[in-house]
C-alpha cells in the first residue's frame, strides 16, 4: 500500500531583503496510514516550513518551491487545482499551530469561529442549531469542562490550555485522515502540556488518524510516535523507529541534541553543540552540519551525504556511515 503522504525532494527558499534564503534542501519523508510520526530539530531548521508546504500555505515570499507531495499514492498536492486543494483541507488534512492565541480570532466568540469551520468542512447545509450542536460535541470531545460557556466566550477569556483545546477541536472538524500538530504545547506549562499531549494521543487513536507531531518536548515525541525524523538546517538527517532513535542515535547532530537534554537522573548536562544553525543565504555546500561537527572530514564539506540504511529501518544521512 502506498503511504498516505509522501514528500519527495522538497525545496523551499525565502526571498528576503538580504537575498534568497535556501531553507529546505531536498526533504524526503512519508507517513503511512494510521502512523504517528515525529519530527524533531531545533528552531529554524525548517520543520514548520515543511508542514506549510504540505498544506500549501507557505507565505508569499516563499520561492523556488520544488518537489512532490504525493497524497494517497496518486495526487501531487503541489499540482492540485484550488478546488482539489480545498477538498484536501476540508476533509483530509488539518493542522494545529504552535500559538493558540494567534490561531484564534480575538474579536469573534469561540462558538462563531467553530461554526464557521464546521460549515466549511462538512460542506453541507446545516441549520444554526445543528452547527451549534456539532461545535459543542467537538468541545466535549476535547474534554473542555463547561462547553456551553466556552462556546460563548471570547478567546481572551480562556486560559492557554483551554485555547489549545479549542484549536484542537477545530482541527478535528476537518482532520479525517492526517493531523499535523506543530509544537502544540510550546507555550504551555508542563502539567498542561501533559494533558494536551494525552488528549491529542487519545483523539488520534479514537479517530484512527495519522499524525505528524513536531515538538521540542523530545520525550513526548519518543513516547507518542512510532517513527521519528530528525531535521537539521533544511535536511532530514536521520530517521528510525522512535524508541530506537532515542536509544541509539547515529547522526552526530542527533547525538549532540539528545545529550544536551537535561535528564531526571541528574548525571549532568552534555556539552551542547558548538556554533549555531548556518546562514541560509550561503549554506555549507556539503553536509550542512559539517561546520558544527566534531567528526567532519573533507568529503563532508564537499558533497551532501547519501541516505544510508545503517540497520533495519534506521536511516542516516552522514558520511561517517558510508561504506567505502
Amino acid at each position: 500500500m502506498p503511504p498516505l503522504l509522501e514528500v519527495r525532494d522538497l525545496y523551499v527558499s525565502y526571498k528576503t531583503y538580504k537575498g534568497i534564503l535556501k531553507v529546505l534542501n531536498g526533504v524526503n519523508l512519508y507517513v503511512n496510514e494510521g502512523e504517528k510520526v515525529g519530527l524533531i530539530g531545533e528552531s529554524g531548521c525548517g520543520k514548520t516550513t515543511t508542514m506549510k508546504a504540505i498544506l500549501r500555505i507557505l507565505p508569499p515570499n516563499a520561492v523556488n518551491v520544488r518537489g512532490q507531495i504525493i497524497y494517497k499514492g496518486s495526487k501531487d498536492i503541489m499540482k492540485m487545482s484550488k478546488r482539489e486543494l480545498m477538498k484536501i483541507r476540508r476533509n483530509s488534512i488539518s493542522m494545529i499551530f504552535q500559538d493558540p492565541t494567534a490561531a484564534l480570532n480575538p474579536v469573534f466568540k469561540v462558538g462563531e469561529q467553530m461554526m464557521d469551520i464546521i460549515k466549511f468542512s462538512y460542506g453541507r447545509r446545516m441549520t444554526k442549531k445543528e452547527l451549534k450542536e456539532e461545535a459543542l460535541r467537538l468541545l466535549r470531545e476535547v474534554k473542555l469542562p463547561d462547553p456551553e460557556r466556552v462556546f460563548d466566550s471570547y478567546p481572551f477569556q480562556l486560559s492557554g490550555g483551554m485555547r489549545q483545546r479549542v484549536v484542537i477541536a477545530m482541527a478535528l472538524a476537518s482532520a479525517h485522515e492526517l493531523l499535523i500538530a506543530d509544537e502544540p504545547t510550546t507555550n504551555l506549562d508542563v502539567t498542561i502540556q501533559d494533558q494536551i499531549l494525552k488528549l491529542i494521543n487519545e483523539v488520534v487513536v479514537k479517530r484512527k488518524l495519522s499524525v505528524i507531531l513536531i515538538s521540542h518536548a523530545l520525550g513526548a515525541v519518543r513516547s507518542m510516535t512510532d517513527r521519528t525524523y530528525v531535521m537539521y538546517a533544511g535536511d532530514i538527517v536521520e530517521m528510525a523507529d522512535s524508541r530506537n532513535l532515542f536509544e541509539n542515535p547515529l547522526h552526530p547532530y542527533t547525538q549532540g541534541l539528545l545529550s544536551s537534554v537535561p535528564k531526571l537522573t541528574g548525571e549532568g548536562i552534555g556539552a551542547g553543540i558548538k556554533g549555531r544553525v548556518p546562514d541560509y543565504l550561503n549554506p555549507p555546500p556539503g553536509c550542512r552540519f559539517a561546520p558544527r561537527c566534531d567528526f567532519a572530514r573533507s568529503e563532508c564539506r564537499k558533497s551532501k551525504p547519501p541516505w544510508i540504511e545503517v540497520s533495519k529501518n534506521h536511516y542516516v544521512s552522514c558520511w561517517l556511515y558510508a561504506r567505502k
Binding site: 483551554m162 520525550g219 532515542f246 536509544e247 535528564k263 531526571l264 541528574g266 549532568g268 548536562i269
Partner: protein
C-alpha cells in the same frame, strides 16, 4: 555557626501583592526560605506561581508588600533605588529574554561598560576595554570578534552570554537567574548552563535559579523549592527531591515531564496524573491552594492552610496529609 554566617539571603514571610483594576493579585503570599553561600537554590513553578516576582523583589525591582529580605544579614526590604550602592552592585540578575534585556542600539562593549562605569568608577577608556575583554573571555566569547557587535548580530545563546558578562561586571556575590535558558534551544542551553556552573566556582557566586524545567533543576541546583500560586509547597535538596517527592503537586509536576529514557521513566511518581488548571491568583482557593487539583483532597484542605513543616531534616512540605502523618509519628 550562626545562621547569619551560613546564609547569603534570608527571605522571611515575604509578600508581594499587585493592585490591578479588577482586584489584588497575590503574586507572592508569605514565603520563607534562605539561600546558603555558594549554593544554587532552585525556585520551580509554573506560570503565575510567583517565582519570578520573588526574584524581582530580591533584586529590588519593587518593594515587598510585607516581610523581610536579609542579604548577608542586612535588611534590604526596599526597592533598589533606596539600597546602598555597595549592595546594589553585589546583587545582579539575568533575565529570560536576552533579546529584550539588551539595548539594541548599543554595542556589546557599551552594554558591558555601563555597569563598570557606574559601579567601579572606571574612567579610562583603555582600562574599560581591557575589563570588557576579560568579561567576554569569561563567558567564552572571543573579544576580538564580539566587542563591537550589536545584539541583533548575535544568536540567542550569544546574547545571553553577553547578559551574563554584564551581570558579572559589577563583581557580584549573588545572581538571580530568571529562566536564563528557557528562550534557547537545548544544545545552546547546555552551553550556557555549563558556563554558569563554571563561573559559579571561579567567582564563588550564589545563585537563585528560577525555572519551570524540573529536569534542568535536577542537574544544576543544590536545593529546590516548589512554588504554587504564591506559596512554597516543598523545599528539599535536589537529590532528596527527586528520590522522595512528598507534596502531591510536586508528584504531579514530576509525572508530567516527558523523558527520554526508561531509566528516567522509572523515576517518575506513579499513580498521579495531571488534571485541572492553575486558578487565578486574584482569587486563590481557600485553605490549601492546590486542593482544586489535588487527587488526595480532604475536608481540612479547604478550611485550613497547611503550614510548611520539616518532615525530614532539611525537607519541608506544606500538605495536610504529611502534617498529620508527622503528628501521628
Amino acid at each position: 555557626m550562626t545562621p547569619k554566617s551560613e546564609n547569603i539571603i534570608e527571605v522571611i514571610n515575604l509578600k508581594k501583592y499587585f493592585k490591578v483594576s479588577l482586584g489584588v493579585v497575590r503574586a507572592v503570599d508569605d514565603i520563607t526560605f534562605n539561600i546558603k553561600y555558594g549554593e544554587t537554590f532552585g525556585l520551580v513553578g509554573e506560570s503565575g506561581s510567583g517565582k519570578s516576582t520573588t526574584g524581582h523583589v530580591i533584586v529590588g525591582m519593587y518593594a515587598p508588600t510585607s516581610g523581610k529580605i536579609l542579604f548577608k544579614g542586612q535588611d534590604i526590604s526596599v526597592p533598589a533605588a533606596k539600597r546602598p550602592k555597595s549592595i546594589k552592585k553585589d546583587i545582579q540578575i539575568v533575565f529570560q529574554d536576552p533579546a529584550s534585556s539588551l539595548n539594541p542600539s548599543k554595542t556589546v562593549r557599551d552594554i558591558i561598560a555601563l555597569p563598570l562605569k557606574m559601579y567601579s568608577n572606571l574612567k579610562d577608556e583603555r582600562e574599560i576595554d581591557e575589563r570588557v575583554a576579560r568579561l567576554l573571555e569569561a563567558v567564552e566569547l572571543p573579544p576580538e570578534d564580539y566587542m563591537y557587535r550589536y545584539p541583533r548580530e548575535l544568536g540567542g545563546g550569544e546574547k545571553q552570554a553577553v547578559a551574563i558578562a554584564r551581570a558579572l561586571a559589577t563583581n557580584p556575590s549573588f545572581i538571580v537567574l530568571d529562566e536564563p535558558t528557557s528562550a534557547l534551544d537545548v544544545s545552546i542551553q547546555a552551553k550556557i548552563i555549563r558556563t554558569l556552573m563554571r563561573l559559579q566556582k571561579e567567582y564563588s557566586l550564589s545563585y537563585l535559579f528560577i525555572t519551570h524545567d524540573l529536569s534542568l533543576m535536577r542537574n544544576v541546583a543544590n536545593r529546590v523549592a516548589i512554588m504554587y500560586l504564591g506559596k512554597i509547597c516543598e523545599i528539599a535538596t535536589a537529590d532528596e527531591f527527586f528520590k522522595n517527592p512528598l507534596h502531591p503537586y510536586t508528584k504531579m509536576l514530576l509525572s508530567s515531564i516527558p523523558v527520554l529514557t526508561e531509566e528516567e521513566e522509572r523515576l517518575k511518581p506513579k499513580g498521579i496524573e495531571s488534571r485541572g488548571e492553575i486558578p487565578s491568583p486574584m482569587n486563590p482557593p481557600s485553605g490549601c491552594r492546590f486542593r482544586t487539583r489535588c487527587p488526595f483532597v480532604m475536608d481540612i484542605c479547604s478550611k485550613k492552610e497547611p503550614p510548611l513543616v520539616e518532615v525530614e531534616p532539611g525537607h519541608y512540605v506544606a500538605c495536610h496529609l504529611l502534617t498529620m502523618k508527622a503528628i501521628k509519628a
